[in-house]
């Protein structure tokens, strides 16, 4: 027994000496700590980049970093089961107030940490119950992505509705242009040598695509209604909504499906690939966000696009088109597991600090992941390369209002969205009648009020 103890003691001594040596190697006062890091990644599209970063960090500092990526749409499920394990994630994603409420026992107060101090736009961070629950590490913008080259070509045609892209500055103009393009596909293809089949990409309502409409497009009516009611459109949410702007929602949705080649009756079949349609130059308009940049730029997908081909305009909604910018916000916020050991917490904070302050970390997050990061360390060589992110900043600089992510307040978000999607499927498949639209309104408004009550009932 004594022998065993002495071996254990000397092992512990050697271990502590080794870690001291590692720290001493570092020139500045950066301390990687002695714990373990386990990051449950929220973004499946950048899994590989995170794995590489983790490996590089382990090699440099000897701190074990595990990265697990939850499958698309499975984050909550994965988080719930991982958190119950003894080896629980030390860093997880907590993207909004309702998440912070659910995970209140698990969020470590980040106030005053390095991450908090260097956070660029603190409005994106999530506070709950007197704590800084999570820090936004990047923000995203969505709107209507368009193929600049094709659209400019169209504007140059004699009988085009507009003569420059700048003239598309309201919903009515956009509808006019999209309708015109869609009705003159063959003529445009002949003249420009393009391979267009439609103006807007197919609006898939399957589980892999429907969030663009039940989440992102639905943000527009929610945002304007919250602004009308004088509440903070991003954080608060309302127990009951009225659906004031659902007629605008209908007009935009009708434009999407009326100026597209996709069969309206089978939008939920899962056979549509909007990214392919846009990437292969079959469509001009595509409602999506700046995260789509890396997909569209990826040559392995067979797309022939360059950054110059891409532009993004606001989802003109017919409410306040002159002042509307892109929808900017985030669900990407790092939270630290308060139930982890103190060493693990410190090591996790150190790892994240390294990711957003080291050259390697900044290069990978900025260029390879294509994220618009929310830390003041991203300047000079590390300014955002994403043209969509740049468009968002440009519009704000012109004095437009960035539309907040009102949908972050959605109660029981998956259930509510599914209800809206099911109603949209029925509406679109059955000839877009007023009667079926009432179904959408009911799923939107009554569904919201119902789920709010369920989610906040004690």
């Amino acid at each position: 027994m004594k022998k065993f103890l002495s071996i254990a003691m000397s092992a512990a001594m050697v271990a502590s000496m080794m870690t001291t040596a590692a720290v001493a190697d570092e020139a500045d006062d950066f301390d990687p700590g002695t714990g373990k890091v386990y990051y449950l990644n929220f973004k499946p599209e950048v899994d590989q980049q995170w794995q590489d970063l983790a490996a590089a960090y382990t090699e440099e500092y000897g701190v074990e970093v595990n990265v697990l990526t939850a499958a698309s749409g499975e984050y909550e499920t994965t988080l719930q089961s991982e958190m119950a394990k003894s080896n629980a994630p030390t860093i997880f994603n907590c993207g909004n107030t309702s998440g912070a409420e659910t995970w209140d026992d698990y969020t470590y107060d980040l106030t005053g940490t390095w991450l908090d101090e260097h956070s660029a736009n603190k409005e994106f961070n999530v506070s709950y119950n007197g704590k800084l629950s999570s820090v936004a590490y990047c923000y995203e913008s969505f709107g209507i992505i368009y193929n600049k080259t094709i659209l400019e070509g169209y504007c140059g045609m004699d009988n085009a509705v507009v003569s420059s892209i700048d003239e598309i500055n309201s919903f009515d103009k956009l509808l006019e242009v999209a309708t015109d393009i869609n009705s003159r596909i063959d003529e445009i293809n002949d003249e420009l040598g393009t391979e267009l089949t439609e103006a807007f990409v197919g609006s898939g309502l399957d589980s892999g695509n429907s969030w663009r409409y039940s989440g992102h497009l639905a943000n527009m009516p929610l945002y304007y209604e919250f602004v009308d009611d004088g509440i903070d459109p991003v954080t608060d949410g309302e127990a009951t909504i009225k659906g004031t702007y659902l007629d605008n929602f209908r007009k935009v949705w009708d434009m999407y499906v009326d100026t597209s080649a996709a069969d309206k009756a089978t939008l939920d079949s899962g056979t549509l690939s909007a990214a392919d349609e846009f990437g292969l130059g079959e469509a001009v308009f595509y409602q999506n966000g700046d995260w789509e940049y890396s997909t569209l730029m990826n040559e392995d997908n067979g797309y022939d696009l360059t950054a110059d081909d891409l532009g993004m305009m606001p989802i003109y909604f017919g409410v306040d088109d002159e002042n509307e910018g892109l929808c900017s916000g985030t669900e990407n916020c790092w939270a630290i597991n308060a139930k982890a050991s103190e060493e693990d917490i410190q090591s996790s904070l150190a790892f994240l600090q390294w990711v957003v302050s080291s050259d390697e970390g900044r290069k990978v997050t900025n260029e390879d992941m294509g994220l618009t990061m929310n830390f003041d360390t991203y300047t000079g060589d590390f300014a955002s390369v994403n043209p969509f992110g740049a468009a968002a900043q440009e519009l704000v600089a012109e004095g437009k209002t960035a539309v907040g992510w009102a949908f972050n307040a959605t109660p029981n978000v998956d259930t509510w969205r599914q209800g809206v999607v099911d109603a949209l499927i029925a509406y679109t498949a059955n000839g877009q009648t007023d009667e079926d639209w009432d179904g959408v309104v009911s799923a939107f408004v009554d569904g919201w009020n119902e789920q709010w009550e369920l989610a906040h009932a004690e």
């Binding site: 719930q80 659910t102 698990y106 998956d414 119902e450 009550e453 369920l454 989610a455």
Partner: protein
Amino acid sequence: MEKTIKRYFPLFMLPTMLAFVVGFLAPFAYGVFLSFCKFTTVTNWKWVGFSNYLKMFSKGADVDVFVHALWYTSLFTVVTVLIINVAAFAIAMVLTKGIRGTNLFRTAFFLPNLIGGIVLSYVWLMLFNSVLQNYHMTITSTPWSAFWGMVVVVSWQQIGYMMIIYIAGIQNIPGEMIEAAKIDGANSHQMLRYITIPTLAPTSTICTFLTLTNGFKLFDQNLALTGGSPNRMSELLALNIFQTMYGMQGWQGVGQAKAVLFFLLVAAIALVQNKISRSREV
């Protein structure tokens, strides 16, 4: 000899019992316990007594979906039990007649079982939708197209498995009995009615039991093929529980309570079924 076995049986039983306790009994008991708690993760709970069970029936919309899932699942189970058992039995009969290529057929019919439910359903989803698209429909256009879609997939998957069990049963019918019946002048219809079907009663007990429980606890195929669409009207019970657990903030405990009720229901039905079909065995 017998004494030795008696003396050592705990030793031999130990690994299995241990695995059973760790992998089944303990989580089961813990699950029942959690149904009386409000929890975020299974290690962070707060005792709330019966309120989860009461909440299950408290709110309008969700109860409707739950009740719908209840009868929809029952109907689904009845339909699949009938189709699978009749078809499996018929194929087993044909494949014990000694026709050419018997082994090839048996293998081919068994194969779907070797593929996981999720993968299988995604493949079928593509098949269904690419055909249905010509008629401007998808598999989830109505609750009934979703229903029959699931019936097709599940039948396709399970018929082969049940067929193997039926074949084993048919091959176990004593040759003397068949010979005696033939000498007594029984025709093929009478052979089936008075020899094959009665002697196969134990086999059909097993097969109906398996298909019945499979039908009630079906999850993968439901999730991958329809996901509950349209409008949660093709949600089977297991998926309904899953949605309560993960789709609704703070309702994990209610999901757990539903799961306990679900267990009691399936156990009760399976016991009754077992009792009835056992009484018919010779």
